[in-house]
Subunit: 278 residues, 2 copies
């Protein structure tokens, strides 16, 4: 496994390999078994696996969140080596942003709801950094986890608008034994909130089971109540949305493919999760 920190070194390594066989897993580090499953899938489907590890400042609307975001570069490299990555790209902020990135994306209605509505600028920053990584790595396939469900829709729109000739591969959520969706932010939970956090998944699963007997509005009330039962978690939103447009449905027959998406404040930590409803 080669670790590179500059675009120049990255291009030198990648110019020697078949460009149709490059799979990219973009990450912000603090890697866990969810990331590992992405890398393992990329390993199975590509001759060359590139993993980027970069905490992207432009996608943090909250500077405290950026400051507190966990950083574990040595452990990340060990996990990536074990998972079979070929190249780890760990650039500095200056390497990724030699000049200010002033590009403004417009994703129509996709980013006006949920994470986009509650984290202003977040998805524009995601699109900026992912588009840079695609320009630099020139992958044939890029792997994203469905925990960030809305992010995948944003990235797909960015790709279609930008003309990148690559495939976005969506990978299912990896959960702990207690159901909690794996997230680098879980490491920031205190003991009490960590103990309560599996209520999120439990509420989603219960909600998905019982959804047919409720309206989407009733389901939102139900999932919120179930999630908040410990008194420690606060639901920021729960929405049943069309899986392509991210727009809320008012009835189950409004869409063929509906996902229930939730954001939760767990003490100082903001968590998201989602589940297929239809």
């Amino acid at each position: 496994m080669k670790t590179v920190t500059s675009v120049k070194a990255l291009r030198e390594v990648l110019s020697a390999v078949d460009s149709t066989g490059i799979g990219l897993v973009p990450t912000m580090g603090a890697l866990h078994a969810g990331h590992r499953s992405l890398v393992e899938r990329a390993r199975r489907e590509n001759a060359t696996v590139v993993v980027s590890v970069f905490v992207n400042p432009t996608q943090f609307n909250d500077k405290n969140d950026l400051r507190n975001y966990p950083r574990t570069p040595e452990a990340d490299c060990a996990l990536l080596e074990a998972a079979g990555a070929d190249v780890v790209f760990m650039p500095s902020v200056e390497e990724m942003y030699p000049v200010p990135d002033l590009r403004q994306y417009d994703f129509g209605r996709i980013d006006k709801v949920m994470e986009g509505a509650t984290r202003p600028g977040h998805f524009n920053g995601v699109a900026q950094v992912v588009s840079k990584l695609f320009a630099m790595v020139q992958p044939a396939r890029a792997y994203f986890g469905e925990k960030d469900f809305q992010q995948i829709a944003v990235v797909k729109s960015m790709v279609a608008q930008s003309g990148f000739p690559l495939e976005i591969v969506e990978c299912g959520i990896v959960r702990g034994d207690d159901g909690l969706a794996l997230s680098s932010r879980n490491a920031l939970l205190d003991a009490a909130h960590r103990a309560a956090a599996p209520d999120i998944c439990r509420a989603l699963r219960l909600g998905a089971e019982r959804a047919a007997g409720m309206t989407p509005a009733e389901l939102a009330d139900f999932v919120t109540r179930e999630t908040e039962r410990s008194g420690l978690l606060e639901v920021i939103y729960f929405q049943s949305v069309d899986a392509l447009t991210m727009q809320q449905v008012a009835a189950w027959d409004e869409s063929e493919r509906i996902q229930g998406c939730i954001a939760v404040q767990a003490g100082a930590v903001r968590l998201i999760d989602n589940i297929r409803i239809k």
Copy 2:
């Protein structure tokens, strides 16, 4: 020489070649000796030469200009074959814009003057299409003619913001025997305006020779008078600008590298040209 019209076919052809040896010449077709010189230079400097031929609608602020823009695909292919191109990419508008491209670029002061000030939206469209071509072709080098002097500054800024790992190669203006800068739009000039058009270059050359004895403002008056002497040409602007920032200088010692840039209305046709002053 292979001609491809889809991104898929383009990638199939290019995935078989060394990506460090791809040179791209982006054009809007109606090719002339100026384009040919770009292709010939790319031929000397790259193992694989790709030329794109695409009249990009998003960079036309004037729909009549878009409708009237000359289109000569058969002659273009003959010229490109003779100049040694390997791949010609001639996509449809639908192939380049499968979804509306809503990306908004910000180039600071670079695109607020000259062409940017007189052609609203033009440079945003240029940046959109050039960034798409870079994403699709993944060239190591891309060739641009200095006739579109401000465009090169815009493209360089787009590249720096977007992270494309490539070199922008600036190529000198190619002129006819009478000095007129070669342009696809020259073909649209009527006989009288065609006869008057060499006054543009003559005025620029005379101005560059005598600039040291004048202020930038006096030079602008001088070049305008000389350009307009036939009564057929109308100067839209003449500005002496810093070659990096595109900002007007008020005195020659304000910058190390100054270019005199002109736009002229010649009947129904808008022409541009420029010359090095310092």
